[in-house]
């Protein structure tokens, strides 16, 4: 009797994909559908849900914290994109330069912060930005003749600066690595040719390096955008107990978290999540259309 094979060419892909599909269905799709459902309800106590129609969505319009959260999240996103592109590209070019000494040591050193936990790094930076006059940053401020500042409790802008600083310290190394790998794919002959044609250093960077790293540039911008808009950890640690006075440091995801788990307002938090999801999908669509992600390379 011939035994039937379980794994055939037809079934293999399904079997191999099954673990991912199962976990996606259980941990992603189901919670998402449940979230959309919950956004039409109001939670009383622990598990009494009362139908409230579109009330949660109407509340969004009059909520003053949302505009602050959007401002902070967007400010942070723009901040990390600018800093992480400019600084990371600059460092990558430096580290890729043939005359830079101790390249390998710098490459590893710059990556080390990415390995630390955000909680540990966040606690350090909270004390670094603390308002006392003897903290590292304020000592530096006084050294250059400026008065000490309450960085974390001053204005929304200083809050964003603190967030960008903390985040950059952690992720700069990763982005430098991305750019380094891109730079190494550019053929040295292109530089030589440009040199022979009389191109200046800037022209070589503008016309050889930049087009060479473009795919990685798009990739880094995309992940920084999503990383920025869904940022939570930095803000959660820099302002302890998710207390963000005057909405300084309040990001969209932190506000959703605080509404859901701090005030047990699950319905409203779900409504906010649905709106955030829609906004991100629109952004996603714009990115795909304008940056050409996923489009097949043009044939030569």
């Amino acid at each position: 009797m011939k035994r039937k094979k379980i794994i055939t060419q037809k079934t293999a892909p399904y079997i191999f994909c099954a673990p991912f599909i199962c976990s996606f269905l259980v941990f992603m799709l189901y919670p998402m559908i449940n979230m959309i459902y919950t956004s039409f309800f109001k939670l009383e106590g622990i598990n009494t849900y009362n139908f409230s129609g579109l009330d949660n969505y109407k509340r969004l319009a009059s909520d003053t914290h949302i505009s602050a959260a959007i401002f902070n999240s967007l400010g942070f996103t723009v901040g990390i994109i600018i800093v992480n592109i400019v600084l990371a590209l600059l460092l990558a070019v430096l580290l890729n330069h043939k005359f830079t000494p101790l390249k390998n040591i710098f490459r590893s050193a710059i990556y080390i912060p990415a390995l630390t936990s955000i909680i540990v790094a966040g606690i350090f930076f909270r004390l670094f930005f603390a308002s006392n006059s003897d903290t590292p940053l304020n000592t530096l401020m006084q050294f250059i003749g400026m008065s000490p500042k309450e960085w974390l409790y001053d204005t929304k802008i200083t809050g964003i600066v603190a967030l960008v600083f903390t985040s950059t310290w952690r992720y700069l190394g990763t982005n430098v690595l991305y750019f380094l790998s891109a730079l190494q794919t550019i053929s040295p002959e292109l530089y030589d040719a440009a040199h022979v044609d009389g191109a200046s250093a800037w022209q070589r960077f503008r016309h050889v390096t930049l087009p060479g790293v473009k795919p990685i540039l798009i990739f880094v911008i995309t992940i920084l955008t999503y990383g920025g808009l869904r940022m939570f950890g930095e803000s959660y640690v820099l302002w302890p107990n998710s207390k963000t006075p005057g909405d300084i440091g309040l990001t969209i995801v932190l506000y959703i978290y605080r509404t859901a788990f701090g005030h047990f307002d699950m319905g409203y938090a779900s409504a906010m999540s649905v709106v955030l999801f829609i906004c991100l999908m629109v952004l996603n669509f714009i990115y795909i259309k304008t940056l050409g992600i996923g489009r097949k390379e043009e044939k030569r």
């Binding site: 035994r3 094979k5 379980i6 794994i7 079997i15 191999f16 099954a18 673990p19 199962c22 976990s23 259980v26 941990f27 939670l43 009383e44 106590g45 622990i46 598990n47 009494t48 509340r59 009059s62 909520d63 003053t64 004390l127 603390a130 308002s131 006392n132 003897d134 309450e150 974390l152 409790y153 302890p240 107990n241 998710s242 207390k243 963000t244 006075p245 005057g246 909405d247 605080r258 788990f261 701090g262 005030h263 047990f264 307002d265 409203y268």
Partner: protein, 453 residues
């Protein structure tokens, strides 16, 4: 065929390992977890006899409370050799513990037997149709007359007591006598808030230091000041009174002190930050308003100030002022507890009995709810707090006893929202940023609470 079996096995392992991290807490997982903490978290007395040992789980966000509870287990096991108890304690950060508790209570699985719930979060758990905590009336009511009722009432909802507090949380003023002496000011002469303001001017002139600090990122010192005036966030029926005249007047008073430099806002935003401990330890201000349990912060984080800090009743607004009490942390038994009766009797012995109450003072340095032991010898024993602050700490609390009144913590499910708005928005905007007047800020908070209701 072999290859197929191997690949299937690999797939299975992958799927299992991907999924096993999630799901409800299995027995194995919990036992591994407890293994790690075995040395210090388990009561050794109970290890030998495993037959009649009942394991209870306890979650808290205060490390000190685990020591207190483990001590209570030792006493229990000595008194009840037939009903040995083993306590598995887990300490989490405040926010994380309450989120975890919410999720386990919602899902109906994985909640601890006993749990410490923060006063600001308590109302969230008792509202709605389903009961998640076991009523403690049968252990509290027999002893009620010996207890300070305003503190018991904090956790009373619909006639049931759902939690038992650790301490009264008597509002207390901590004066730095060294700074006051430099300005020739005596703490005893400061009776009203106006007296404090006047004394502040003298202190500022003599030392250049503010007399008091106001929190901008935590609410409780403001809550004490407004509670003295009869203000609160909600009245007894749950109507929002966060924008009441009394509340606005307190903010006006705070602003007037900030304006002339007799007060400053707290470094780090609140009293429980490393920045603030450093500021006070370096004698940055002459006083602070908190509850009696803050003594532990002085002994642990500001040892430099030993012998320089005097505890006193807070200033009042006028002769009608009362002191609000709002405890701080309640211990509750969840309805998921398999042995609620045993848990209740254990909790009664740990926190309600005279011996337990005495330990609340001697082990934790808290003011126990049982007033019938306040003037007994156990309260006069020396401990690290009497060494630091002097022996008459409790005389101060006794002098305030008849003026305590309860706070309407469980009156509205939106208490935690109100508290959060005050602590992270209103105080900062009014006192820190000065971007809104007290009336504007409080009205905006009232609107927000109304929208959320």
């Amino acid at each position: 065929m072999k290859k197929q079996v191997i690949s299937l096995l690999l797939c299975g392992t992958l799927a299992f390992s991907a999924l096993s991290g999630c799901g409800s807490e299995s027995k194995d997982a919990s036992s591994t977890e407890s293994e790690q903490n075995k040395d210090d978290k388990q009561t050794k007395d109970t290890k030998d006899s495993t037959d009649n040992v009942t394991t209870l789980t306890f979650w808290t966000y205060v490390e000190q409370h685990t020591e207190f509870m483990q001590d209570a287990v030792k006493t229990w096991n000595q008194n009840h050799p037939d009903e040995l108890v083993e306590l598995q304690t887990e300490t989490y950060p405040t926010e994380d513990m309450h989120s975890k508790l919410l999720i386990t209570l919602q899902s109906g699985d994985g909640a601890p037997d006993l749990v410490d719930v923060n006063v600001a979060r308590f109302s969230d758990f008792v509202q709605g149709d389903s009961e998640v905590f076991v009523p403690l009336n049968d252990i509290i009511e027999p002893e009620k007359e010996n207890f300070l009722e305003p503190v018991l009432d904090i956790y009373n909802y619909d006639g049931n007591y759902y939690g038992i507090e650790y301490h009264v949380g008597a509002p207390i003023m901590f004066y730095n006598t060294e700074i006051l002496d430099q300005a020739g000011v005596k703490a005893e002469d400061i009776i009203t808030w106006d007296d404090l303001h006047e004394a502040g001017k003298k202190v500022l002139a003599a030392t250049g230091k503010p007399i008091i600090t106001f929190e901008v990122n935590d609410s409780w010192s403001y809550y004490i000041m407004t509670g003295e005036k009869g203000g609160d966030y909600f009245d007894k029926d749950g109507t929002c009174i966060i924008n009441s005249k009394e509340n606005a007047e307190v903010l006006d008073f705070m602003l007037s002190m900030l304006e002339d430099g007799t007060a400053v806002t707290t470094p780090g935003g609140g009293f429980h930050t490393e920045e603030y401990y450093g500021f006070m330890a370096q004698e940055g201000a002459a006083s602070m308003l908190e509850c009696l349990w803050y003594m532990g912060r002085f002994t642990d984080y500001m040892p430099e100030l030993k012998g320089k800090i005097q505890v006193a009743a807070p200033p009042v607004w006028d002769e009608n002022s009362q002191y609000p009490v709002f405890g701080g942390t309640a211990t509750s038994i969840t309805t998921q507890c398999k042995v609620p009766d045993l848990a209740k009797r254990f909790l009664a012995e740990a926190k309600i009995s005279k011996e337990g109450a005495a330990k609340i003072w001697n082990v934790l340095g808290f003011d126990p709810l049982r007033w019938d032991i306040w003037d007994t010898d156990v309260m006069k024993e020396t401990n690290k707090y009497t060494d630091y602050f002097g022996k008459d700490i409790f005389d101060v609390v006794i002098s305030m006893k008849d003026k305590f009144h309860t706070s309407n913590i469980t009156a509205s499910p939106k208490y935690s929202l109100a508290n959060s708005l005050i602590s992270s928005d209103i105080l900062f905007r009014v006192l820190g940023e000065k971007s809104a007047t007290p009336e504007e800020a409080l009205n905006s908070a009232a609107d927000e609470i109304k929208n959320a209701q």
